[in-house]
Subunit: 333 residues, 4 copies
């Protein structure tokens, strides 16, 4: 029973069907009918004009976003535990041609406005220091916490006052919105976000994330950067098809709710073992080595996060029975 | 009737089936059972130990190959008409961090050993000039010509004597091998090729090319570069599945033969209009503006290559009727 | 007797004196009194507001100029024989993070407006090709020819119409102006040039070139790039002192005239041996191996440019006697 | 009275004389007689074969060193307060093409072996994380502390066991050696250092640092990188002359001792105001705003390091009277 990563999950049936349906002859790259529908579909979803590009991975989406906001001699403020800092093998530095990441603090991988202001204040305004050009946050965070619209807006205001771009890594944006119950707009552009990496792959997609520019002018250069990075897939219609299928009838929200609900049930069972509140589909538990071994012996697969800590992720398609079994097993530890 | 590009073609049924069959839970990235079969499958095909990585586009595959062979302060010798020079928006420069491309000449986008030797001889061995580190050829070429094993070996010998790496852009490698009727080994590692971008997407795949290292030690750093470029797909099993399906029963060769055969029939109809011999699945024809318009009026879609020239590409799944119709139309011009 | 390169020449006395005079305690980097005079001094010289930075080498000056004009996914149009293409080991690619150089043709390393227009016309306006962002010319050229104000203006107009930046590599700008007898403004900003690498080192300086931005807003980011490249010297006052000494009383022009005059006398002696007209301080001669050996036997040092060709460069301080001797030796061949 | 930075100090007379003496015609770049003496001179000084290159700034020297040790997808371990992290505007990221800096802790900007081991242990050995490739320390540190040979050797052993390169930023290496009274070898290659940025500019030079490769094979590619960065000065003999003058009769040590001695006298006066022990030529004092203003009112110029802190640097040529005056002023606060 896999609770290791939502990356391991299956692709959801509607996406598989859409891929099959896209298997016709059409214009290559992103000139096909499906790709050309993306701008409109996301503009509808967000209630504002956006430019939307499919991207084959979250790492590439994040890095293209940062390259759109930060010059090579600039810097991006992010959390010390951010995916872009720790899990992308320097992809942001590759795409930005060497911009620096300035690392902030905060519980559960969340930045806050005061902390970011303080960090920004510590950077001398002279040529000896890379100057901050963007702020990047992850929503839901790497520890499964969710920024509220107000929290995002406070950070957005800090960014705006300093003239910085604002990026949201939304690898689990669906889980965040499902938790918040708000309009997608409220936690993005209305709160100052310029670019969103909108994740679909962990949530039932196959190989398509969406990169959403709330300042559509930023997309033009990004189209060249995408090609130059080898991310302009020649049969891009299959990427567009996945995303459109996920948007249809708000499947993305339904899938995320399913995963969040499963995580909430596990959280209830875990009680005081929880290291962080569970707001999305990830749990971080205190378990000693013997307990971890006991869970594994019962067939549960998960990630050892550090000494005495375990990460468990609930996928969109996690069977109820697996969740029940794990909840019982945790409660019985 | 599309003769515009094999990138527009559909994905072949065996690949679609393999993708569907891969839709189970498995380890993320390239830790899954299918991805782990690639090294073996290609080692069998080539009759030597290779390291094989799936890559979502030919541009990325080529660029990762060049980055493995050439330092930022080095240079790659390629043909003036090479895809890596003209059609990848500087991707080789991005991945190599600014290596230069030194451009050679030759009919039909083919380099030859004498020309490359001469070009190499013109580079001073001092720090003021980027020093050549690799040779890259495209087989079949951008004009649909095929390098024979002897031609490749002669270039490989030039590269070996100068201590250069040797890369083959095989976006249409299948069409080349289908034309040659030789073992894949004969035109690659036995002729000195170090790294091959083995294309599947134009030939019936969806989003998976294979990057084949005949010097498997070169693959280690490439795995980091692939991640850093955002090309380590989180559900990589779907990429591996496509490639394995194409290798199964030599489907890749069958598809390429079908495309080559179609092109041969068109070539026979075109006769003296041919600008280059037709050895793979591409034709370049002399047609004036009125003739081009006439063909389009009959429903044929193709690429205006330059004044008075047209490029037509036959896909693996091009219906016989379309080929017959086009052959007749060309003959009737 | 050195006719190998003006890089070998001595530093002129006024520059040595200025360096000695600068040896007082002052603010580090470019905050000193001398560095702060540069903007004004060059604004006076050019009759327009400019931003001026000292740079320790022509290669760095050129590369910083190109980085100011061209994004990583863009391209720079230059001549096939340009220094930035052939003699800087990929420095433009390093500083621009991988922009491409598109190579034009023309006698004596001179581009012309028609040729550049044609080259630009051959670039498809799509994401598969690096899009031209700048034109770069060398004045005087690598073959010692001088662009006139009209020729520069014609190229500037081509650049302007396409929205490209326009850079002049003026490693021997002084020699060009000395030849033209025009105002420095006439052959630069009045002819559309945005950035000039104004060379002093070959002309009697020690380690200071000036990078002149005729669009001063371009200088801001360049200050960061200069630091990031390790080119913000900590005792920059010694660089500024050299440049100010060269500007004082138009020493830069006097030195260049001396060199040009020497070259003109050699040219008169060389007559039909000249491969290119001699307009600055370089000569390219047809000499066979025996003739070259004979010159060397008489103590003349120069560069074998290719089979049967020699390059001779006259320095600002070349003794009259050496020039007389060489003129006689050439005439006697 | 300047205690702001040793970068503001004058150039020492022996260096000025050497520059004047070098003003003859010689081969350009580093082919001149003086540049060719560097390898030998430093091999003698260090008692082992080294390759030595002049570099016009410490930032460039450090960055070239790191680029020699770390691939673009790698990482460099350094202290959170390291110059390469905070004061070079991302130069290490520029030269390494985006390698990451992993930041360690330690009093007075000193790393220790246990801390580095722990940091290295926290990096997962998989492609999602940039893998450490080098350790970089600054000696004397940014806070004026000096690593002993044993401390360096312990770090060198950590690096060696993990297969990492080891770089020492020696912008104030002379001050460190003057403090230690040891052989230069003892605190460098004998302690595992692979590359040393040996600073001369703060210590009486004008525009020449030396980059010392204790593994001379690493220098070959660096020569190309130096050119590519525009740091191969065309009249390099003036850089070599400075360094040779500083080595002559151990002038570098004499200058550093003078600066250290001055700092020691100030330290005695400062007593409990010292934030760090004074081992080289820098002092960090606790002074409140009124005290800082009082010192400035008496004509002392220095750097406000943070709230309630001041940095004072003693230069090689600081007049005794200035030191006496400042010592008295500090004591009288």
């Amino acid at each position: 029973m896999r609770f290791f990563s939502d990356n391991s999950a299956a692709v959801c049936p509607a996406v598989m069907d859409a891929i099959a349906a896209a298997n016709t002859v059409d214009t290559a790259y992103d000139g096909d009918a499906l790709s050309r529908r993306l701008d409109g579909a996301f503009s509808d979803l967000f209630g504002t004009d956006v430019a939307a590009l499919w991207i084959a991975s979250g790492t590439a989406a994040n890095s293209l976003a940062l390259a759109a906001l930060c010059p090579p001699h600039g810097a991006v403020v992010c959390h010390r535990d951010a995916h872009i800092q720790n899990d992308e093998c320097g992809a942001p530095e590759f795409y930005t041609h060497g911009a620096k990441l300035f690392l902030g603090e905060g519980e559960g991988a969340k930045l806050d406005a005061a902390g970011v202001s303080h960090l920004l204040g510590s950077i001398r305004d002279d040529v000896h220091q890379a100057q901050p050009a963007a702020v990047s946050i992850t929503n839901a965070t790497e520890y499964g916490l969710v920024y509220t619209p107000d929290e995002v807006a406070a950070l957005g205001e800090v960014a705006r006052r300093r003239g910085l771009g604002f990026h949201m890594d939304g690898a689990r944006f669906a889980n965040a919105v499902a938790h918040l119950g708000c309009a997608p707009a409220a936690v993005t552009w209305q709160a100052g976000v310029d670019v969103l990496s909108f994740g679909f792959i962990k949530n039932g997609g196959m190989f398509a994330e969406a990169l959403i520019f709330f300042r559509p002018d930023l997309a033009a250069a990004t189209r060249y950067r995408r090609k130059r990075a080898g991310h302009l897939l020649s049969k891009g219609r299959f990427a567009a098809a996945q995303i459109l299928a996920m948007l249809e009838g708000d499947l993305w929200l339904a899938n995320a709710r399913a995963a969040n609900d499963g995580a909430a049930r596990l959280a209830a069972a875990a009680g005081p073992r929880l290291i962080h509140p569970v707001e999305a589909n990830e749990l971080f538990l205190r378990v000693d080595a013997a307990e971890a071994a006991a869970l594994r012996a019962q067939g549960f697969d998960f990630y050892d996060w550090g000494p005495g800590e375990a990460r468990l992720v609930v996928s969109w398609d996690q069977p109820e029975a697996e969740i029940d079994a794990l909840a019982s097993a945790i409660a019985a530890l």
